[in-house]
Subunit: 269 residues, 2 copies
């Protein structure tokens, strides 16, 4: 009962362009039900319409073809739909991040400045004992990766056997390549009162002492760049910058301290 359609007819039915259909055939995402061996004409079955529409909808959401292919290859329909729903949830998260971007951009342009900018503070921190996870992370994955990392570390802190006791807010170290190439070895850490032994990817570490210029960022992560700009401009104009990773300390969901490595300015001797 499944009739065959020319590529043009199939395009009108599915709202997928002819060029896209040929491309999906080329890359093995959606092959026509039949190809005329003499003419090379592609013929699609009406039964392929829902698949093509599914592809179109996910492409509308910018899902990569490889991801779509992987998900369509699921052995059964239930598994496939579960996989699709997982992807959909990820897209919903991205979408809400995009909305934050839009909202904060609008606020910026409409000139509701983001409240009084906090003063920049100079601070010397000593070496810090912490539980940490370090991994190569790409810019776009950082937020999700961090949430994951803290969940792991917290699981250790809450297990009775370990004896690790939290001694400060969640924090992270971002090395220059993370900003300059949008990929680098990020360290998520939680300070603890005393060193303990742990297994797995979590390591007990000693964060080195450092002199820092610190700005408190209040508000959404979408606005973090404004605080970076303010703090970095200050450091540059004072000519006090030194090498080293930038630290962020997550005091609570709306307050983040951004810490820039600077020269020591304690009384000269």
């Amino acid at each position: 009962m499944s009739a065959l359609l020319s590529i043009g007819e199939f395009s009108r039915l599915t709202h997928v362009s002819v060029k896209a259909l040929r491309h999906y055939d080329d890359v093995g995402l959606l092959a026509p039900a039949e190809i005329d061996p003499d003419t090379g004409y592609r013929f699609y079955a009406t039964a392929q319409v829902p698949t093509a529409q599914l592809i179109r909808r996910f492409r509308d959401l910018d899902m990569p073809l490889d991801d779509i292919r992987a998900v369509l290859a699921a052995p059964d329909v239930a598994g496939r739909d579960t996989a699709l729903l997982i992807h959909l949830r990820r897209m919903e998260e991205r979408l809400s991040a995009t909305q934050d971007t839009v909202a904060s951009l609008r606020a910026l342009l409409e000139g509701h400045s983001i409240g009084p900018a906090s003063a920049i503070e100079r601070r010397r921190v000593g070496a810090t004992t912490a539980l940490a996870i370090t991994e190569r992370v790409r810019w776009d994955d950082a937020e999700a990766w961090l949430a994951d990392a803290y969940a792991h570390i917290n699981a250790v802190l809450e297990s009775e056997g370990g004896g690790a006791v939290r001694a400060g807010s969640d924090g992270a170290l971002y090395p220059p390549p993370f900003f300059e190439a949008h990929e680098g070895d990020v360290t998520a850490f939680v300070p603890i009162a005393a060193p303990v032994a742990v297994r797995g990817s979590i390591e007990p570490v000693q964060l080195p002492a450092a002199d820092l210029a610190v700005a408190l960022h209040v508000g959404s992560f979408a606005d973090l760049d404004t605080t970076y700009g303010r703090l970095g401009t200050y450091v540059a104009e004072q000519f006090i910058g030194v090498d080293g990773p930038i630290r962020e300390l997550y005091l609570d969901p709306t307050q983040t301290e951004v810490c820039w490595p600077v020269r020591n300015v304690s009384p000269q001797r």
Copy 2:
């Protein structure tokens, strides 16, 4: 007071990658404040930080570099911000369309089928007098273009002098290339009781008579493809398709009739 920063420092301050900064220089979007004539080293002023951050935020929203450049070139800051807000509004619209896509995809996958599908009706329509605007339109621009077109036509209908009287719902004709190449000559029309003379891009036209298979689509435009699939499959499996544009009739905001050209099936003689 504006200090100079190396490209790496500027990258950390603005969260724009080094490769992107070099690219923005190459295409003339953001040139460094200074370039060392001997080494070619780029140096950016701290005063350029806000511009770079603005670019980054709009790129996060996928605004094309050309659009960003155009908007940054505005003669004064007020004009620039107005232009940016206009772009922002467009993005908010796209964002809400994306949310519709996600919501309808979720509903589809979770198996809440979209209510009982309406029956497919065969209908013969006679030639129709209408006020119409025809223009080459790209797929992605269609919805905004249509809204514009109906606004223009309605303005004529509401002007006393013309004497044109609405005689049916808003409608549109979509030729095959609109689906197959995602660009084609779309006609937006409003049926009127009797021909009138108008000026400008609006033309009085006679839409040809046609035999149509008609399906009523209830719900969001994001789901229109399901009705196209159902109707097109029906037409294909009955082997009754003929050439001609597809019509859509916008009965009200949630009900759209999709009309597929088919062979006449009136009693043979």
